[in-house]
């Protein structure tokens, strides 16, 4: 079975990466557990959005929109379930479905291996997710929510920085061709 193959889009050749068996599941579960555990001991880490970073990474790497959106859905619904009864199921699910779909669509068209590209993409996806969450709050849940604040910009920058480093670590889980 091939570990790595190439998509031919016009004149560009983009690799589709495969991972060691169980890597996606283990990384996803670890991200969810850490997301709900780390802030107990280090409250400032609450700013991180590990499930989002994992969704973006596997979306960009797998480069299959269907896989990306389904993975985003699963991660988002799990995050909803772990966010307490006041967060309705589907809240993060919808946002991460969109992120997973767009990440894998972009990954299929652009080379997203460069750290600068990754930084920009994570920053953009973080803002996108927050925008979707605000939309859901305002339109579907009829709850007031601010569109933009400084905290969002800082959080996007921090997540982009951490995500870029995290992606380099996760690259080691790829099967070599």
């Amino acid at each position: 079975m091939n570990e790595t193959y190439e998509l031919h889009t016009g004149e560009t050749h983009i690799e589709v990466h495969k991972f060691f068996p169980g890597a996606i599941l283990v990384v996803t579960v670890a991200a969810l557990v850490l997301q709900s555990s780390l802030p107990v001991y280090f409250p400032r880490l609450n700013i991180l959005e590990l499930p989002l970073l994992v969704t973006i990474y596997f979306g960009l790497s797998r480069r299959n929109p269907s896989t990306g959106l389904l993975l985003g859905t699963a991660i988002g619904l799990a995050q909803d379930a772990l966010s307490g009864p006041t967060v309705p199921l589907g809240f993060y699910g919808i946002a991460k479905t969109m992120v997973g779909y767009l990440a894998s669509s972009i990954g299929a068209r652009l080379d997203t291996e460069h750290p600068a590209a990754r930084f920009a993409l994570i920053f953009g996806f973080f803002v996108l997710q927050q925008s979707i969450l605000v939309l859901i709050r305002r339109l579907l849940l009829a709850q007031p929510e601010a569109w933009f604040n400084l905290h969002l910009a800082i959080a996007a920058g921090v997540n982009a920085l951490v995500g870029t480093l995290l992606f380099a670590v996760l690259d080691r889980l790829r099967r070599s061709s």
Binding site: S37, V40, P65, A81, S83, T86, P88, I94
Partner: protein, 296 residues
Amino acid sequence: MVAIPSRHKSLALLGGVLLAQVLLLAVQIKKDSRGRLIRVWAVSATTPFERAGAWGVGKVRDVWNHYFALRTTSRENEALRVENDALKLTISELQSKAAEADRLAALLNFKQAHAAVPMVGARVIGVSAGTASRMIEIDRGERDGITRNMAVITPDGAVGKVFAVYRDAAQVLLLTDKEGGAGAMLVNSRTQGPVGGTGDPTIVMKYVATEEDVKIGEKIVTSGMDKIFPRDIPVGTVVEVKPGNPFKQIRVDPAAKLDRLETVIVLLSQAPVEFPKEGDAQTGAQNSSAPPAEKP
């Protein structure tokens, strides 16, 4: 059968998944019921990891503190010797205040002071997986007698209420959550009004008429009217008062350190809990370091 072009398959899948989740949201908004199976599964699946994480972090901290972080021990010993000499000089003064010290010592131990109140101490093992809610997860559940809507406090003040209960864990909605809150009243005027969260670190007190005199620094305690918290548990301190029509906008700094909770107390009944009064501020601060009381 009409075949869908492959390039549209993922778009169709995206639309289907989004629609399903929007419908899921709609169902929940119309018919809000707790204890959905997916929540039970998710919490049951992650609780062991969170417990293991809490245990592991505790062990690592112990090993680090007792075996590795001893670089400054020698200097600390020197400082302690000097301090000890100074203390010997002041010990005679302290003896004259022995009676007062006994009273303070009794207040220091929260558990001793509230032996008659049924309560159970719990460790915080998790928090909300996102910033959309302000929730903590504790390591006590149904097996410890915890039920929904029980009050959760620390020796500093009110924390929140139990929102969902599982076999060995429970989820607590903090006062700072948008849906969190408690019945409260101003200590000086005894004016009542609910306090609730906005998602920020501070909370707000609602429905206080504009003509009421509210001062910055005024204390707020629970009123007991919500049938969850007993009366007179510290809620917080007024930090901002803005005029409004017909109600004032009052922002309150929570008494309990809601962003750094490691242990909490779940009150198993609405029996009154005595907290230090304002004049005993120093004692109250000391009390905050006391361990949580255990179930009697």
